[in-house]
């Protein structure tokens, strides 16, 4: 459905997208997961035809932007990372405006109002909408033309859990009813895990890992995490276990750290021993299974939503 081949995009010195290959099958929901500046928006906008790759090629249903602009606009629905619509236009008027670009009538507008649950707000000016309502309006506009391909850039950023849940439900139902293909960028791993079949983890313009959630997590075997705080500084280079540690992150000032380890049960006693020998006292200790965030830490040493 979507084929991205060896795409590069630079802004002066910054390599925003640095050699990406991505193949997306019809009906697949794909999450682009990565920290700020990873290049998610740049990649998505190139797929949307709003930016052009310096190197590489993007094909959507075998078509390129250069030759099939009009046609591609018709099958793609999208929401940008931040769009502010006309302040003094009501929800209904905004939908009508965008509907006119696709030559759609009032029936579809009503369906959208019901779908994104803005019926009560249809007469309100866009300025007077809450953040969540605006995101729903943006989603509604993205869905107007019943797109085969949906490209959403951080559709739930800044929303409260209920509002996010609502958007997830809309997207979930779309998958079963319309067999839509979707790319969604996000900082939230639970969003990626809940909605998407395939997760692509990006950092610094590159893909670090991709696959289903299970595939990604199993790639690092059955990793487990010890997350702890102590009452004094921890010498990071003296941690026991050596090569059994997949990754450790110690924050010296905050006196806390995380260790990702293959086998928790065999490792934990030696870790406690080590703390005792350092004359430290644990103020908190948590052991859990590896999540996507931990996976990201394992790969880059940084947290995802930073």
């Amino acid at each position: 459905m979507i084929k991205v081949t060896n795409v590069h995009k630079n802004f002066k010195e910054v390599k925003a997208v640095n050699g990406i290959d991505l193949h997306i099958q019809p009906g697949q929901y794909v999450a682009l997961l990565g920290p700020n500046g990873a290049g998610k928006t740049t990649l998505v906008e190139m797929i949307e035809g709003l930016q052009h790759p310096d190197v590489g090629e993007i094909q959507i249903m075998e078509k390129r932007w250069k030759d099939h602009q009009e046609e591609l606009h018709r099958i793609i629905g999208l929401s940008l990372q931040e769009t502010r619509f006309v302040d003094k236009l009501s929800v209904l008027e905004t939908l009508r405006l965008f509907a006119s670009f696709y030559g759609l009538g009032g029936k579809r507008i009503q369906e959208i109002l019901d779908l994104v649950n803005l019926e009560e707000k249809k007469k309100s000016f866009v300025v007077n909408l809450s953040g969540g309502q605006r995101q729903r309006l943006a989603l509604g506009i993205a869905l107007l033309n019943e797109p085969e391909i949906l490209l959403l850039d951080e559709p739930t950023t800044g929303l409260d859990p209920t509002a996010r849940r609502e958007i997830w439900d809309i997207l979930k139902s779309l998958k079963s009813s319309n067999n839509t293909t979707m790319i969604l960028t996000t900082h939230y791993m639970d969003e990626a895990a809940y909605l998407c079949d395939k997760i692509v983890i990006m950092d610094s313009g590159k893909i670090l890992a991709e696959g289903t959630l299970e595939q990604l997590l199993s790639k690092h075997k059955k990793g487990e995490v010890i997350s702890f705080e102590t009452n004094g500084p921890i010498p990071p280079d003296q941690l026991p276990g050596g090569d059994k540690i997949i990754k450790s992150v110690i924050e010296p000032v905050a006196n806390k750290g995380e260790i990702i380890i293959e086998d928790l049960v065999s490792y934990l006693p030696s870790f406690l021993e080590f703390i005792k020998n350092q004359n430290l006292v644990l103020t908190s200790l948590e052991c859990r299974k590896m999540t996507l965030d931990d996976l990201f830490i394992a790969m880059t040493g940084r947290h995802l939503n930073q």
């Binding site: 006309v86 302040d87 670009f101 033309n145």
Partner: protein
């Protein structure tokens, strides 16, 4: 396509009419300006001017010529003496004669409170004033005339005052204000709207749909044209009701030249804002285009006082072309024939700037 256009035009119009501040500046302001300037420079019936009267030897009360001049006024009193000079046709000026010392008189002169000093010498009068100051010259002529009692013989029968419509300042001003209104509305309205939409990323969102880019820009033009017609009509109506101004030439010519003017300034506005994503830079650019024309194009005062070579440059500004031609329709009774060339020139400017703007336009 039609649906698209009408929705886009609707968007622009709603955006405009739902913003009270914009309505004030765009519509009320030109009318207020016409009213203010029109009254200030047209109704000159009640003029009061001050002249210093220097009487070193204190001989005023004894002078027979002054007794005649200030009939019925006791020159012993220190209250300022007044004298009305002029007649119905020329308008009457009330002169106030402020008795003062020479030093005081000079101070008043420097402060611009007076423009002439009248000094009593021996048995005649001496006038002190700057000969290149027209106001002082006029005061001298009027007072000297009245003083020598040739008031009755100054042949006012031969003077026919030009206060009929078409020759007053307001008749000069209203066409200029209409032209300026078109320019300001297009330049600020369109540029601002485009830059604002680009900044909000709305433009980017819109071009990611099958919307035609040309529809978007044409909608800008059409909605501005409608607004400007509305604005011009209000200004005309006001000038007609309040100042009794009339259009002596062809209405059709007026409508066509206004459309051409709108095209020219829409094109320029699109070109100015075609790559700017920042309101401040945008403001600067707009001012750069608008200001010189505001000042030079003869909106408020004729540009014919500039040196010839500057005049020939000024006459090529689109605002000058527009203002001069609206004016000639208004007051010279020009018709369609005279509009041929200016219509072509303005439309040409519009089309060329529009197309080059569209070509290099930064949609995202």
């Amino acid at each position: 396509m039609i649906q698209q256009l009408s929705q886009l035009i609707g968007m622009h119009l709603k955006e405009f009419f739902r913003e009270p501040g914009i309505i004030f500046w765009a519509i009320l302001f030109p009318i207020l300006m016409a009213w203010g300037l029109g009254t200030a420079f047209t109704k000159k019936n009640e003029l009061i001017r001050t002249v210093a009267l220097v009487d070193k030897q204190n001989t005023l009360s004894a002078r027979e010529d002054f007794g005649r001049f200030f009939t019925g006024i006791n020159p012993e009193k220190t209250a300022p003496l007044t004298k009305k000079i002029g007649n119905e046709k020329l308008g009457i000026t009330t002169y106030k004669f402020e008795r003062s010392s020479w030093e005081e008189a000079i101070t008043m002169l420097k402060r611009g409170k007076i423009s002439m000093v009248m000094e009593l010498v021996e048995d005649s009068v001496k006038y002190h004033f700057d000969p290149v100051n027209p106001e002082a010259q006029l005061a001298y002529l009027q007072i000297n005339g009245a003083f020598n009692d040739n008031n009755k013989t100054n042949q006012s029968d031969n003077i026919s005052p030009l206060t009929q419509t078409g020759t007053r300042y307001i008749d000069f001003l209203v066409p200029g204000l209409m032209a300026m209104g078109v320019m300001m509305s297009c330049m600020w309205g369109i540029s601002y709207s485009l830059i604002d939409k680009r900044m909000k990323k709305l433009l980017r969102r819109m071009v990611a749909t099958p919307m035609r880019k040309s529809s978007f820009l044409i909608a800008q033009f059409v909605s501005r044209l409608l607004l400007n017609f509305f604005e011009s009509a209000l200004l005309l109506l006001f000038a007609y009701l309040y100042f009794d101004t009339n259009i002596q030439g062809s209405w059709l010519a007026l409508i066509l030249i206004l459309i051409a003017g709108n095209m020219a300034f829409t094109g320029i506005a699109i070109l100015v804002s075609c790559r700017t994503a920042n309101t401040q830079v945008g403001n600067g650019l707009i001012n750069l285009v608008v200001m010189p024309m505001m000042v030079l194009s003869g909106i408020f005062f004729s540009y014919h006082n500039f040196p010839d070579w500057i005049v020939s440059v000024i006459q090529k500004f689109p605002l000058t072309i527009l203002a001069d031609n609206i004016r000639s329709i208004f007051i010279e009774g020009a018709g369609l024939v005279e509009m041929g060339v200016p219509l072509l020139v303005l439309t040409g400017i519009g089309v060329v700037t529009f197309l080059s703007g569209l070509k290099v336009y930064k949609w995202y």
